[in-house]
Amino acid sequence: MNKLKKSLALIATLAIASTAFYACGDSSSTADTSSSTPDSSSSEEASEESSEESSEESSEESSEATASAENKVAETGDKLSLLCWTGDDVEKMIENFTDANPDYAGKVEYVNVGSSGGEAREQYANYFAGDEDVDLFVLEADWILDYINNDEYTAPLADLGFTEADFDGCYDYTVSIGTDKNGVLKAASWQSTPGGYVYRTDLAEEYLGAKTPDEMQEFVKDWDTFTATAKKLQDDGHKIAMADTLGGMWQVWQYNRSNAWLDADNKLIVDDYCKTYADLAKEYYENGYVTKEDQWSDGWYAIGQDDSTMGYFFCTWCLGKGSMLSNAEGGEGGKTFGKYNITAGPSGWAWGGSWLALSPKCDNGQIAHDFINYFTVDASTAKDYALFKSEFVNNPTAMKEIVDEGSNKNDLLGGQDQFSVLYESAANIDMDGKITAFDSQIKDAFNTAVTKYAKGDIASYDDMITEFKKEAAKIEGITVE
C-alpha cells in the first residue's frame, strides 16, 4: 500500500515536472536575455546546417540541371507558407492568387508572425532555425538589407528559375533594393509606394473654395504654399491643421532628403536638412498647422472624422480597402467615408514598401515561383491584383493600362482613381542608396527628438541633435561623431 502511494506520488511529481519542461522549452524559443544567446547560437548552427543541406541539394540538382532558368527548388511540401506580420496585404494576395489558380486553393497559407515588423524579425529567427515550414516571407524597406545580405536567411530568386530579365517590367528601384551587395537578386516587391496628400473635399471647398483635386493642388503645391494655406486657415479662425502628424510629415521629408541616414562606413549623417525640418516641425506644431496626435495611435485616425485636420500624407498602401484611410474615415458608412480626394501634394515622395523573399528552407518551388511570378513578373495578373486590392503594383505597364482605362474607382476617395495621381511620381521614385538597415530605429530616435523639440521639452536645436545622436549612438553597428 505504502509502496503504491509512493510510486503514485512519484509519477505525479514527474508528470508535473515534465509539463514544466514542456512549457519552458516552448517559451525559451521566444527567448529572454539570458537564454537567448545559447538559443541563438544553436539557431545559427541550425540554419548553417540547413543552408549547407540546401546548398548540397542544390549543387546535386544543378549538376543535373542544364539551363539556368530552371526551378531548382523541389516541390515536396504540402503547403506554401507565407510569413508576414500583417494579413492586410498577404491575405488579399492569397485570395486573389488562389481565385486565379484554383489548383492551388488551400495550398497557400498565411502564417502570422507578430503584429509589427519588429516582432516579425524576432520570430523569423525562430522560424528559420526551427522545423517549421517557411517558404516565402515578407521584408520591409526599413530592414530588408539585413536579410538579403545574409545567405542564411534568403536564397537567390534564381533558384526558382527567375532571371533578372524577368523583372525588367518592375520599377528599377525595387529591383536594386532587392539585390544584395554581391549583385544577386534576393527579393521581389509586388508594390510601388508613391505617396500624395489626401484631403477632405468638403472642407477644402468650404474653407478654401477648391472644388477639384487640381484646384486643391494649387494650395499645396510646395511647402511654402502649404504653410501659407495652413496659416490662412488659422487666420480665418478655423481650428484645423493641414498635416496629420509630425510622423507623417517626416515621411515626406525623409524621402526628399539627399542623404541616407548613414554613409558608406555606417556613420550617422546629420545635415542642414534636419535643421530645416526640425524648425518647420516646431513652427507647425506651435501654430497648430499639424495636429498634436501621434502617428499610429487611435487619435491619428480620429482626427480624420472630426474636422481636426484637412488631410493626411498617405501613400499607396494607405489607400486600399481596410487600410489607414479607411480607418481615418471611420470605415464604410463612417462619418467622412468617401469624403477624401488625393492630390500630389507639396513634394513627391514614397514610403517603405514590402518585398517577397525566398527562404533557403523552401520546399514548394513550383508554387513559390508561380506566386512571385503572379504578383511581380506577369503584368496581366499584377493588373488583376491592382484592381482587386486597389494596390499600386510594381509594374508600370499594368499601372499605365489601368490609368488609361480609368477602370480603378476607389470608394474611399469618392470614386477617384488614385493611380492616375500617383503614376507620375512613381516613375521618379529613387530609394536606392537611401535606405539603411537601421532606418526604423534611427527614424524613431529622430522623430522622438523632434517632437520633444516642437513641444518645447528640449530648448534648442543643438540640444535636440545631441539627444538624437546619443539615442542613435546606442544602436550597435553605427558610429556617431
Binding site: 519542461f21 519552458c24 529572454d32 536575455t33 539570458s34 487611435d298 544602436i475 553597428g477 556617431v480 561623431e481
Partner: protein
C-alpha cells in the same frame, strides 16, 4: 540486545525519497533558472553587437558606471540612459511603495479590527484585490485611453475639450505620478491581504487584554499591531523592493507609437531595449552588465533591510550562550582529568 532486523529498521532512512521528490524541481531549476543566471554574468563581460559574443572584460561596466567623455555619443547615450533608468526606477518605487504600504496598513487594520463591524468585508477585499488580476497590458491600455496624450482620451475630452490637450503620458512628472498611481492601485490589495494575514497571526488575547486595559485604537495599533507586524512588514518591504527595482511592464507599455517614454523608462526597460531593440546587432553585454549591477544593488539593499531589522535580543542571547559555552569548556580544560 537488538536483532539484526531491528538494527536494520533503525537505520532505514527515508531521506532518499525526499531527494527523489525534489529532484525534478532542481533539474528544471538548474536548466531554466540557474544556468541562465550564470549566463547573464558571463554576458555582462561579453562584447556587444553580435549574437555570439566573446569576452571583453570590464568595458561594459566602465561604460555604464563611469562618466564618459562628452564627445563620445555612444558611451554617453548608454551611460545616461542607464542612470536615467536608475533614477526613474527609484523615484517611481518610492512614490509607489510609501502610499501603498500606508493605504494597505490602514485598510488591513480596519478589516481586522474586532470593534469595526463592517458589512461586506469579503466583497471589499475582492474588489480591492481585483486590479492585481488584470494583466498589465490591459491596465496600460486602460490608462492610455483614460489619460492619453491624444485629445480623444477620456481626460482630455472631459476637461480640455476645445483646448490644448494635456500631455500626461509624455510629460515628466505627470507620467511618473501616473505610473506610481497605477502601481499602487494594482498592488495595494495584494499587500493588504498579506498584512491582514500578519495581523490575524497575532494572538487575539493581546488585543482583548488591551481593550480591557482601556487602550484606544491608536494605542493598540502602535503598541501591539505595529511591533508584532514587523516581520511581515520586512517581508513586504523586501519583496516590494525586489519587484520595484525590476519594474518593467507598466513603464514599458504606457506609451503610444514606437518609443518608450524617457521619463518613466526603468532599468529593466533599459535592459530589455539594449538586447532587444536592435535585432540584427543586439547589445547583450550592456544588458548583462546592467542586470548584474541591478542584482548587486538589490542584494545590498536586501542585506541592509535585514541588518536594520535584525532581532537584537536574539543576537544578544546567542552571544551570551556562546560565551557560557566557552566558559564551560575552559573550565573543563582547566579542571584537568576530573571525573
Amino acid at each position: 540486545m537488538a536483532t539484526a532486523a531491528q538494527r536494520r529498521i533503525k537505520s532505514v532512512s527515508y531521506a532518499k525519497y525526499g531527494y527523489m521528490f525534489i529532484l525534478p524541481f532542481f533539474v528544471v531549476y538548474f536548466i531554466f533558472s540557474f544556468w541562465p543566471l550564470i549566463q547573464t554574468f558571463i554576458l555582462a563581460f561579453s562584447e556587444n553587437g553580435t549574437r555570439t559574443p566573446g569576452i571583453i572584460g570590464l568595458d561594459n561596466f566602465k561604460t555604464i558606471l563611469a562618466k564618459p567623455a562628452e564627445s563620445d555619443f555612444k558611451a554617453m547615450g548608454i551611460h545616461e540612459s542607464f542612470w536615467n533608468g536608475m533614477k526613474n526606477t527609484l523615484i517611481i518605487w518610492f512614490g509607489n511603495f510609501i502610499p501603498q504600504i500606508a493605504l494597505s496598513l490602514l485598510l488591513a487594520v480596519w478589516f481586522t479590527d474586532l470593534r469595526v463591524k463592517m458589512p461586506g468585508k469579503g466583497f471589499f477585499k475582492v474588489v480591492m484585490y481585483m486590479p492585481n488580476i488584470i494583466t498589465a497590458a490591459s491596465v496600460a491600455g486602460l490608462f492610455l485611453s483614460l489619460f492619453g496624450d491624444s485629445s480623444y482620451s477620456v481626460i482630455n475630452t472631459l476637461l480640455r475639450s476645445g483646448q490644448e490637450p494635456w500631455k500626461i503620458i509624455t510629460s515628466c512628472w505627470p507620467s511618473r505620478i501616473l505610473v506610481m498611481f497605477i502601481q499602487v492601485w494594482m498592488w495595494f490589495g495584494n499587500t493588504m491581504i498579506m498584512l491582514m494575514s500578519g495581523i490575524q497571526g497575532i494572538n487575539e488575547s493581546l488585543f482583548e487584554a488591551a481593550e480591557i486595559d482601556g487602550a484606544n485604537s491608536t494605542q493598540t495599533f502602535w503598541r501591539i499591531t505595529f511591533p508584532l507586524l514587523k516581520t511581515i512588514m520586512v517581508y513586504t518591504l523586501l519583496t516590494s523592493m525586489i519587484g520595484g527595482l525590476q519594474m518593467f511592464d507598466i513603464p514599458y507599455m504606457l506609451h503610444t507609437g514606437n518609443v518608450v517614454n524617457d521619463y518613466i523608462k526603468t532599468v529593466a526597460v533599459f535592459i530589455y531595449e539594449m538586447f532587444h531593440g536592435n535585432f540584427a546587432k543586439p547589445s547583450f553585454g550592456y544588458s548583462g552588465a546592467a542586470s548584474v549591477i541591478l542584482f548587486v544593488i538589490t542584494s545590498i539593499l536586501g542585506a541592509l533591510v535585514f541588518y536594520v531589522q535584525r532581532d537584537k535580543d536574539a543576537i544578544e542571547k546567542k552571544k551570551k550562550q556562546k560565551q557560557a559555552a566557552k566558559e564551560w569548556k575552559r573550565k573543563q580544560k582547566g579542571g584537568g582529568f576530573s571525573i
